[in-house]
Symmetry: C2
Subunit: 336 residues, 2 copies
Amino acid sequence: VPQEHDIAGEDSLIRGYFAPLAAGFAGAFGLEDDCAALSPEPGRDIVLKTDAVAEGVHFFATDAPEDIAWKAVAVNVSDLAAKGATPIGYLMSLSFPVPPARAWLERFVAGLREAQERFGMSLIGGDTDRRPNAPVSITVMAIGSVPKGRMVRRGTAQAGDVLYVTGTLGDAALGLRLRTGEIDDKGGAHLAASEREFLLRRYLRPEPRLALVSVLLAFARSAMDLSDGLVKDLGRLCRASGKAAQVEAWLVPLSPPARTLLERRPELALLPLTGGDDYEILVTVAPEAVSSFEAAARGAGVPVTRIGAVCEGGGVTVRDSSGRTIDIASPGYDHF
Amino acid sequence: VPQEHDIAGEDSLIRGYFAPLAAGFAGAFGLEDDCAALSPEPGRDIVLKTDAVAEGVHFFATDAPEDIAWKAVAVNVSDLAAKGATPIGYLMSLSFPVPPARAWLERFVAGLREAQERFGMSLIGGDTDRRPNAPVSITVMAIGSVPKGRMVRRGTAQAGDVLYVTGTLGDAALGLRLRTGEIDDKGGAHLAASEREFLLRRYLRPEPRLALVSVLLAFARSAMDLSDGLVKDLGRLCRASGKAAQVEAWLVPLSPPARTLLERRPELALLPLTGGDDYEILVTVAPEAVSSFEAAARGAGVPVTRIGAVCEGGGVTVRDSSGRTIDIASPGYDHF
């Protein structure tokens, strides 16, 4: 009788938990091969992005496994959306300090499934390892596609472009501070449960703006997603474009819970300009395309708000409603 | 004067060290955009692979930065090669516990450059973060291409196929044990400096078998790269193919230094069958294609050795030169 060598551990983990997430994609080969194969559609480019989330940095060990999984995928899909790309699939490199509990894994996989069904993509490959004493980490590589040569760029803004953002800013940064206790009711926040829940959810469950993809392809001159804070990310767009930008701080859209909280905690007023984790899209639109862009965004059900303009020069200027420049000491999140 | 918000830290790291590695690839946009764009060649599929290396698991903190960088890329390219794929580019997600020293980074980038020039690919995107108290980790996603529908699979071996491996096995596993001191001269190893150096280098500097790509596309029925040990990886190929395999242990090719060492340390004799990090290719070839395959491999300058055969059934049997089955308790490396 030939001796069957048990394919234990890592292989069981992949077959038992992750392979079902790859069932809808032929070129994933059930996660049983070394590589995935992808047949590009004629006339389209492949768009690629990688971003990692780690326990203690991007999420907390006590976060719901569904939320961790969702966020790991969503932060990458947000970049695809900002580039006008439609998601196809993702690879995932996982690292655990100890073999994860079955119940945790099941919920983690449920979160991945929810995310990939919402975003229209499949798990197509990956890798799992164990690193003693290291935080849980999840590195996702997202793959999408755009019409050939049409990826929406960061570096193509022009002077005179109108600056827009989707949704509302600062919610996630406030949600994070509620999550850590940095903002609490002792400081006079006194939020209703539903307001608190809204802000927390904006931190835990970013919603990539995929509904804007076709609008961006049609009308954006340049775009990027907001993950490290408006002023910092806009500074990157300006730098890549060789342009400057002016932001009218009083035009930056706030959700009702954020507005309520910021009225009670005025020392946090700059957070919508500098806080990370928005996962909204910053778009510049040529002046002649503004009304078409706004109409198309309305048609797509994505709120967009005009917050400023691109001009010649370099750097980002932020002004208050009386036209005074606001000094921003720390424009956004930096790991280093 | 518009206020210039300094784009410090992470952006400087990317611009100063990593952007030059992306200079040769237009769709990397100098690493200044959110995503990379790739225009697929007509008639080819994209092949994708991700694998991570972490300090303390896959390399040592004291390893040369050039070697760490090389290995992070090479272990992924090895998979591409085994699938018949030609490398195009890679994304890299880096994590450091503290900002890395300039000298370390320069050497790390030099290792990446050496690897990507050798393998014919560019850095096209990535992400860098800081995780306090976590090991340095490097997750690479490699992108290659194959003629449409022609990726060499794991799951397509057929009964009667002849089993080949490239190069020699066990060198890296022995090199690792020399590196850790688990094998030392006190145990009677008494290797010459050049023998020791050869084995260490096989651990530190895997050489993906890209020269075999066209040979695999022409003649392989199935193939995979060997990273977790021959018996374990062959078990995976058998499982994916629904077949069994027999390996003649005495046919497994050994380098002269490995042979010398194993003669002196006979208790390690199974290591070429079970040790990881070989990054050689396991190939199955239909009997009628054997002589063409051998001639083509010779033409490509890649040594290949016949080590057994595929048959009906399941599992892997290993036999010694007298035909007795060798019991392999632990067929290879597993993280879990």
